[in-house]
Subunit: 434 residues, 2 copies
């Protein structure tokens, strides 16, 4: 009896041509992270549930894949932050701080599968973690790295929206709304979905008077270039220590973004950004493609005071950024921003016109030594079928070897795009293909 | 309350220095596979249990990580072969055959954790899958690729032991022992563990008479170079079609191993090799390091007639090879064959001697543009602490930038190995570090 072959909904599985493209982006990501000195770690997909759920609650507990194996209560990681916190607490003595680390791996969230949402997806994070303290310049560096990365990805104009939680919380404190700050920020977070008017309504529904609600709305919609926004914030002359610290941090980060050569058109201060996660305490940022309104955020991150507080008493502040590669890749293809262009990795296919494969193998070895990806076709098919294979995989070149080629010690090279066929000796062939 | 940070036994988790080394091997593996035109696929870690257990029984069912999520009966993959079979059956119409594919990913087996055995480990497979038929030359190619790969890994002298199931089964049939063939091969498979004498004893215990047992022992211990073994097999003049086919296949594979430039010292015909998996039907092979008796096999594989028979009626024969990278890496470190040599990815650390980071950032940007991994140290520490960080991470170079350097528009470069410090302008600095 046959079992029907199928893949679970919410699990991405790509055909090779798309996988090639996906892997190209993975390679760019890794390359950029390593150029800035980030070190790789690779924690397990499975951890003890008590580790993963040390802090979590609500949605996480509902979505997590949790199961027993023997006596162990296990779960699949739902992000890379919690395993990293465990890692840093566990190997504290072996780690040198500031610890720059990157991780790329699959994470699991059993949410309702819907377009663009995945239950298994590749996540990638970079974090710079300090022991006790960490310079604010790191907050600029980490955003500049993402700028460099997304410029390299070449997927169009984007903007990093940055803010500082201290500015928001300081302002709420100044308005004597600290006790409602979390709820207010949660409402503001929805502004792109529900609009300004509805944000004001919901804030008023919290029992906040109209004047304050209107001040908040005016405050979060302050705009202009970085210098102008910082000037406007300073002019408010808000006498609150946290607010002033936050504005200074924003100013410093903006100054260093500039030093990092981040084009001013690619970032802005956006006081509406607060990031849902309540562990962020300073800088926060999110990035969006400019020309696609419905496109999900490209990446997001920020500064936190205490990475590993569930596992250790040590204060380990850091700044990090995460992105969901699977979701990003899905959206990039869906919006037509990227398209698979290579169906094969082989640059050349060697085709034997008689049954003497030795010369085919000989030249294939030579080409591979020169790092030219090469495939030999061994199957006993008609020449038409062989060329159909080459056409289907869009392999750029074919080397034909038959009796004449063996006799004259040459190779016939066919350029599949132009159809041109030339006869070359070994050296000329290699030179042509390198 | 704090949760004690820990990692599950049987789950490899490496410090960055070891992870850097691990990733280097992963990169070599991928690079070699791609040079031979293998296409990447990346199936999910989770599949429906009915897919993964379509054939399995015994050990697999016991070891598999299986759990419910909602109404779904799910499991973590325990190898990459079953998901590949599913993939090929499912996307048959989109795949071009012969399908050369590689996959690298984590697989899960809940066996007793013991030294060198892992519950979560990276597996990598390459397979060449035909539609209906597949040339025997592929059996040589796939072994030659592993030869090239392990030569590149540079971990010492190894030998590929190859055999053909048709030779073994044909010989058993000739001895009229076909009905006991599976049990006999299972006993032979243990020969390196239990020794020749015990193999003979166990075969006799199956109720096989002493003469036949002794013939089997004599047969499986035939040795010499490939040509000699094939000559000895032919001289036996065994009148069994399957046996003759097997010997011819062995001869053809050996001939092409030679064409592929596989050094004759690196492979042999070993009639004791049968591979446990009963889906192999022709060529089988395993490889071992020569100088380490207890070292586990490096890789193993073979030819099968029917990859996806649990999911489709189509006949999809193939030849493949798999290896457990995690176990291999563990053993290579344990036996002292490889050792982490890089604690950092950064080649240079930029150190600021005052509080003006602009010049540090400027030169860091320039170096990164030239693909020189560069890290800036931003923390407010004493110079001694900064150099301790560099020493701990063994970063090869430090660039020092203070007032003098800014005034004279130069950089002070310190070679951490020699302690030598030189003053360079921008161009000379870049040239020195490229």
């Amino acid at each position: 009896m046959k079992v029907e072959p199928k893949t679970l909904p919410g699990f991405m599985e790509l055909l090779p041509k798309d996988q090639i493209l996906f892997n190209q982006y993975m390679d760019i990501i890794k390359e950029v992270y390593e150029q800035y000195g980030f070190l790789p770690i690779d924690t397990p997909n499975i951890e003890l549930s008590e580790i993963l759920l040390a802090k979590a609650g609500g949605e996480t507990e509902k979505q997590i894949y949790r199961f027993k194996k023997g006596d162990n209560d296990l779960a699949l990681r739902f992000d890379l932050t919690v395993p990293t916190a465990k890692f840093v607490a566990m190997y504290y003595n072996d780690i040198k701080f500031p610890f720059k680390r990157y991780q790329i791996g699959r994470v699991y969230r059993g949410e309702k599968p819907q377009q663009g949402r995945f239950r298994e997806f590749y996540q990638t994070d970079i974090d710079i973690i300090g022991d006790g303290e960490l310079s604010i310049i790191n907050d600029a560096e980490i955003q500049s790295i993402m700028y460099v990365l997304f410029k390299k990805m070449n997927i169009g104009k984007f903007t990093i929206h940055m803010n500082n939680r201290k500015v928001l919380n300081g302002y709420m404190s100044y308005l004597e709304l600290s006790d409602k700050s979390v709820e207010i920020l949660r409402i503001i977070d929805k502004i792109n979905k529900i609009g300004i008017q509805e944000v004001e309504n919901e804030i008023i529904e919290l029992g906040i008077d109209k004047d304050k609600a209107s001040s908040i709305l005016k405050f979060i919609t302050i705009n202009g270039n970085c210098k102008s926004v910082i000037d406007q914030l300073k002019k408010l002359q808000i006498d609150n220590e946290m607010f002033i610290e936050g504005v200074n941090e924003l100013e410093t980060v903006a100054k260093y973004m500039n030093a990092f050569n981040v084009d001013e058109g690619y970032y802005c201060i956006d006081l509406k950004i607060s990031r849902g996660l309540d562990y962020y305490t300073g800088t926060v940022f999110e990035a969006y493609l400019d020309d696609y309104e419905d496109f999900p955020s490209l990446f997001g991150g920020g500064r936190y005071e205490n990475l590993a507080q569930n596992y250790t008493d040590r204060k380990l502040p850091g700044v990090g950024v995460g992105m969901g590669i699977t979701r990003l890749f899905y959206a990039l293809q869906k919006f037509g921003i990227i398209k698979a262009e290579k169906k094969s990795i082989a640059k050349v296919l060697v085709m034997c016109m008689n049954d003497e494969y030795e010369k085919c193998i000989y030249i294939s070895n030579k080409l591979i030594e020169k790092n030219i990806p090469t495939q030999i076709y061994y199957e006993d098919k008609k020449i038409k079928a062989k060329f159909k294979y080459v056409d289907n995989l869009e392999i750029p070149y074919v080397i034909l070897i038959g009796e004449d080629e063996i006799k004259n010690n040459v190779y016939t090279l066919r350029d599949m795009k132009t159809g041109e066929q030339i006869s070359l000796n070994e050296d000329a062939l290699i030179e042509k293909l390198v």
